[in-house]
Symmetry: C2
């Protein structure tokens, strides 16, 4: 029995996008994420954001959800952000992923959808350009 | 260029193991994890643990690391725990995974090792019984 859906995403953004996210200490993006989690019926128990000085503009954000977790790790020197969205129950996780992508406007991203507890961690990768 | 190693693990434990972990509010396991993260040169910025009432004994634990994150989501009704360990830099992530497995003593687990930012999110699954 599958317990949840796990989206693993490697996203590549325009050259100044991650620096801009970090410039406001992630606040605007964080507010957007909190709003979209709520909209998609996911309950945030708490969250933690760490802005790193080196390399400038890099950050990690972890959201502990009743339905599992959402994570971001940014690498502005590569215009790259790693995103994981793991949700249990009847969440519309694809909607949340779409909302995140609408904000980040990646040039390209890879996404792999894995069903946890399904005897298959290989999943199915798609590439979106 | 790979930015980090992501171990995705679905582990199946003996029938009372997850309930025992939850009975002490995860404290003993948490202390063990914090010790092993330190031993394996990973720096914990903060962590968050949530014990859920329903189903009894279920919990989520998220560790925000300088090197990315570690997460646990337990499903005691299935004797199943989902583990993700995503580390950047030169961490010995396999050692940490071994330490976790030594504590949990799974009957069986599936592990998939993915290199993030490698244009491949399929990884390589292994099954250990």
């Amino acid at each position: 029995m599958t317990v949840g859906t796990h989206y693993i995403i490697d996203a590549y953004l325009k050259s100044d996008k991650l620096i801009k996210l970090a410039d406001d200490n992630f606040n605007l993006f964080n507010e957007y994420i909190l709003d979209k989690l709520k909209k998609n019926d996911m309950n945030v128990i708490n969250y933690s954001i760490k802005n790193f000085e080196n390399p400038p503009g890099s950050f990690t954000a972890l959201y502990l959800l009743s339905e599992s977790h959402l994570s971001f790790h940014s690498f502005p020197e590569l215009n790259y952000i790693a995103i994981d969205c793991f949700t249990c129950g009847k969440c519309n996780t694809q909607n949340l992923v779409n909302d995140i992508m609408n904000y980040l406007e990646p040039i390209k991203y890879l996404s792999n959808k894995i069903d946890r507890n399904s005897n298959n961690l290989i999943g199915k990768q798609i590439s979106v350009i």
